[in-house]
């Protein structure tokens, strides 16, 4: 199960905001997309799944197991989303529907792809909630998003994304909006879930230090173009591009142990 992105472009009106991005995510690997804000990394992720906002058009090629995702009708893409490719977004506060319980929202994934009944979905939701280490899963599934803390909401979002055991997870700056103290927990959670299942991971961030903990390869983006692509250890020790060097300078190195992921 591999992802191959070739010359991906995203146009918003006249502007080309993603300009010929290419990278590969072989089965089981962990690739990071890194760049400053506005470099087009989030749009790349959205383009892969056909979730671009109205008015944005994607071009180029995205092959998922030899299936072309660019131009695929939404109905087909929907079967892939959640089931084969999951995505977690940056802002847990707004990513969850405020007027539905957590349980129903987690359960919705399995009901769509596995056809479970309401009761079965609820049980499954409890199981998934416990898998992401949400406290008191039986009770928490009946809660609403506003009753959870930021970290808990992000855990719920991860549960929603992974409920159907997708083969690839895209994580779009999943810890950026969280408290510094929670960031480490969430990262560890993601890492353990990804390793346990042998999932591939595309991790998007602007922080090279975070990337070093979780990815093996890094793709550096600037202004919608790839400026450098190399193993993370190389990016950290011998960055070729000035962009990468800038990112290295900005990295929050204090919290993390140096070196790459195990």
């Amino acid at each position: 199960m591999s992802l191959k992105v070739t010359d991906l472009t995203v146009d918003i009106g006249e502007r080309r905001v993603v300009d010929g991005v290419s990278f590969e995510v072989p089965d089981g690997s962990r690739v990071g997309l890194i760049g400053e804000s506005g470099s087009g990394k989030s749009l790349t992720a959205l383009a892969i799944l056909g979730l671009l906002p109205d008015g944005a058009v994607a071009g180029g090629s995205v092959l998922w197991n030899d299936r072309e995702l660019i131009g695929m009708p939404d109905r087909e893409l929907a079967t892939i989303r959640g089931d084969e490719i999951g995505i977690v977004f940056q802002e847990p506060r707004t990513a969850l529907n405020p007027i539905r319980t957590i349980g129903r929202q987690i359960g919705e994934s399995v009901r769509i792809h596995e056809g479970l009944s309401r009761a079965e979905a609820r049980e499954r939701a409890v199981a998934e909630a416990s898998r992401v280490a949400l406290p008191d899963p039986e009770r928490i599934v009946a809660r609403y998003p506003h009753q959870l803390s930021g970290g808990q909401r992000q855990r719920a979002a991860i549960a929603m994304a992974l409920a159907c055991r997708p083969r690839l997870l895209i994580a779009d700056e999943p810890t950026t909006a969280l408290d510094v103290t929670i960031q480490a927990e969430i990262l560890e959670l993601l890492l353990s879930l990804v390793e346990d299942d042998g999932m591939s991971l595309v991790f998007i961030t602007h922080d090279l230090a975070v990337l070093s903990q979780i990815a093996t390869h890094g793709v550096v983006l600037e202004d919608g173009r790839v400026v450098e692509a190399a193993p993370v250890s190389t990016l950290l020790s011998a960055p070729a591009s000035p962009i990468t060097r800038g990112l290295l300078r900005d990295a929050t190195a204090t919290l993390w142990r140096p070196g790459g992921a195990p």
Partner: protein, 316 residues
């Protein structure tokens, strides 16, 4: 929740109080002498004085006010200056025309605006979406009276399907005829109000489209349209409820004019006649009932909104 209800209730009562004072003051504090107006130009001072006595105009204002309010608690909204008939009984009688008219108009407005509003938002940027949006804008700019006239021309004069005027003498004892005579008026109000509501539904839907949780729902495996409908729309519905209060006020106002156009013996037309005739006690009572109604609807809508939105249920 209880606390919220009580606060809202207190505000409602305060509102009713203020409304009653305002109505009372405006109608009693005159530059001219109302008794003289009623008596006419050729009246004698004694006649005018007699009228003043009858109306209780010689008492101090606060006392007059309290008498009026006291009467209201007894169910007596005053009586007509000209005919002496009780305001309450007249209101009750005319309500049989205006209340069904209001309900029909509101139903038509909702049925008309929500599907079209959502559709025009989802098809935004495409031909039919823009057409719907422009159409709604144009309809919302139409004066209700004129819309009524155009409908009469088409449906009553040219096609002859529906009556152009009037309400059957038998009233609701002849439900079919009564319904038919209210249909065109309700359609008029409903479509014009609906156009206004539709603009709102459209914005609310467009806002829902941009919401992150709709995107998350699509990311889980729903098609984008399904995500919008299942996750976005209920939130739209919530916002629509908020505006419903405004809609009701608009419908009441529309009814006043439309009843005049279609010669329907309802509260609106009665109000117009009474204002023209300067039958102040009657106008006082009628206005109080109307504003009270709007305030009560606002109160109910607030509560419903509060109950439905889980975010607000715990907040004090």
């Amino acid at each position: 929740m209880i606390r919220y209800t009580l606060t809202r209730l207190a505000l409602l009562l305060l509102g009713l109080l203020v409304a009653s004072v305002l109505i009372f003051l405006t109608l009693r504090v005159l530059p001219g002498d109302i008794a003289q107006l009623i008596a006419g130009t050729n009246s004698t001072p004694e006649q005018i004085e007699a009228i003043r006595e009858r109306l209780g105009l010689n008492q101090p204002l606060p006392l007059q006010y309290l008498e009026w309010i006291g009467g209201i608690f007894r169910g007596d909204l005053g009586s007509s200056l000209l005919t002496g008939s009780s305001v309450t009984s007249e209101l009750a009688q005319k309500a049989q025309v205006t209340v069904p008219l209001g309900i029909m108009s509101l139903t038509i407005a909702i049925l008309f605006s929500i599907p079209l509003g959502v559709l025009s938002a989802m098809r935004r940027g495409r031909g039919d979406g823009t057409a719907l949006s422009v159409g709604a804008q144009a309809l919302a700019a139409v004066p209700v009276v004129w819309a009524g006239m155009m409908f009469v021309v088409v449906f009553a004069v040219w096609l002859g399907w529906l009556p152009a005027q009037g309400f059957p003498r038998a009233g609701w004892n002849d439900p079919a005829a009564a319904f038919r005579s209210l249909l065109l008026p309700a359609l008029t109000i409903g479509i014009v109000e609906g156009a206004m509501l539709m603009r709102f539904v459209r914005s609310a839907t467009m806002q829902a489209v941009g919401q992150d949780y709709v995107r998350t729902a699509a990311a889980k495996g729903l098609t984008r349209n399904a995500a919008l409908i299942r996750h976005g729309l209920p939130n739209v519905g919530l916002s629509v409820i908020t505006v419903l209060g405004l809609q009701v006020a608009g419908i009441i106002v529309g009814a006043v004019v439309i009843e005049q156009l279609f010669s329907l013996p309802g509260i609106g037309r009665m109000l117009v006649a009474d204002v023209s005739a300067r039958d102040l006690p009657k106008v006082q009572g009628e206005l109080l009932v109307l504003t009270g109604f709007v305030l009560v609807i606002g109160f109910i809508v607030d509560l419903v909104h509060r109950v439905i939105d889980p975010r607000q249920r715990e907040a004090t």
